[in-house]
């Protein structure tokens, strides 16, 4: 191992990268082993942990899911009832979607109440709020995909709200639903594309920026 590391390090100077990822000190005030109340600093990490689970379980779900009005529900029903561990994988994606919102909410409150968004961390706070919005978008678009009754009618309400934005409301609605009035085949494929490609792409970029900024600035000091 050591030899391999040295071989790569000699060519690419990976030590600074290794320092950023792993070889740095964790200050006492964020370490629950020293102060139990420091568990509030775990919420961000748990949010990331669930996000990783969401990505993995989502990748497996797309092996069976069909984004089409005829077959979407049937594919989910088949996945849920026939596929080995399908119920577990779908269950993890379903409950993970709720848990990630909870953890992210708690993480936001921790950052707020410790005043960690203050100078010099303003930019990271903004990126964090954008991540929050992307996550809510993922929740909203993912809710339609099983194409069952609750999905259809919740999306209907959501699109009506989007349509009530002054001036550009109708444009947003058509962009999301593919039609002025119909919530159908177009809506399902668009929501699928947004849920699986557009928003995850945005999420990866924002998460990368979020983490790079944390490493550049370090964790905020004790109160």
């Amino acid at each position: 191992m050591r030899k391999l590391y040295d071989w790569v390090d000699e060519r690419l100077d990976i030590t600074p990268i290794w320092r950023d990822i792993a070889d740095h000190e964790v200050p006492e005030h964020v370490n629950p082993a020293h102060h139990f109340s420091a568990f509030v600093y775990c919420f961000g990490g748990l949010t990331f942990f669930i996000t990783v689970i969401q990505i993995l379980s989502g990748m497996f779900l797309t092996m069976y899911y069909v984004p089409d009005v005829e077959n979407a529900w049937k594919s989910v029903y088949y996945l849920q009832n026939e596929v080995a561990f399908g119920e577990i994988v779908r269950g993890m994606h379903h409950w993970g979607a709720s848990l990630v919102i909870v953890m992210m909410f708690l993480h936001t409150l921790r950052v707020f109440f410790t005043g960690s968004y203050k100078k010099p961390r303003e930019l990271n706070w903004i990126v964090g709020v954008l991540i929050f919005c992307v996550m809510l978008g993922l929740g909203f678009t993912g809710y339609l995909l099983p194409w069952d009754m609750k999905a259809l009618f919740a999306t209907k309400v959501g699109l009506e709200i989007a349509g009530s934005v002054p001036f550009i409301g109708d444009l947003i609605k058509v962009l999301l639903a593919g039609d002025d009035t119909i919530i159908g085949a177009q809506t399902l494929t668009r929501f699928f594309a947004i849920h699986v490609f557009f928003l995850p792409a945005a999420l990866f970029v924002l998460l990368a920026v979020h983490f790079i900024m944390i490493r550049r600035q370090g964790i905020s000091g004790p109160l």
């Binding site: 100077d13 030590t15 290794w18 792993a22 070889d23 740095h24 000190e25 964790v26 200050p27 006492e28 005030h29 370490n31 082993a33 020293h34 990490g45 748990l46 689970i53 529900w73 989910v76 849920q80 119920e87 993890m92 409950w95 993970g96 979607a97 709720s98 409150l109 707020f112 109440f113 005043g115 968004y117 203050k118 100078k119 010099p120 303003e122 706070w125 709020v129 919005c133 929740g139 909203f140 194409w147 069952d148 009754m149 609750k150 259809l152 009618f153 919740a154 309400v157 959501g158 709200i161 009530s164 934005v165 002054p166 550049r216 600035q217 370090g218 964790i219 905020s220 000091g221 109160l223």
Partner: protein
Amino acid sequence: MQRGKGMKFVGDSRVKASNRMPNKPKDYSEYPGKTEAFWPDFLLKEWMVGAVFLIGYLLLTVAHPSPLERPADPTDTSYIPLPDWYFLFLYQLLKYSFASGDYNVIGAIVIPGLAILSLLLMPWLDKGPERRPSKRPIPTAIMLLVVASMFYLTWESVVNHDWEASKAQGQITPKDLGLVPDIEIDENSEGYKIYQSQQTCVGCHGGDLTGVGSNPMLLGNQLTAEEVEEVIRNGRGGMPGGQFSGTDEELKTLAEFIASLKEE
């Protein structure tokens, strides 16, 4: 090439200590505490927290399979919509008179928009160097108020929702699974006409006899004419008796018609 080790940084950051950044966090050396190496000591502890969390998460998944209602049917206008739980507070907000109807834009756009905008601009709304919540009472109070109202609105939404009706309206029926038996219905028969004339029959079992929502399908039933008559008179399970509003003779004809709906 200057390696990462041996350089001086602010705290555990990658920003070089050059005093360029005023209002910077204090260096950790100023807090003579017990710092710990991330790799591998702290990471192991983090993994233990993660493992405990994962166990709870998996238990939740196993104990409560994720819900699936019947396939989307845009023509069903009686369905009461409900968003996922974390949007419930917004959904509830839109029910109040100051945020619905003509004022819908207030509840749907203005209030959530302002909330997200002020969250984004938080570092500039609260510019002071103080970090302790108790030393910046106004932002702390506003945030507590917002969180409390989100909890309150979610709670109001939950207690005002008819969960029983919600559960019933989404049940998967055999019809949804393509399990309708191949039975020819004689639409000219006397029994069929009596069936269609009874609102209570059609209301629950459907004009095509396949059942509405979670109510049973009549096609392919296992009952004899006498048993059907008995069920219509006295009810069974969730079905109340005494709903038939015709003569005894019509009841007999109807019962015979329903009993005849069997696969060959």
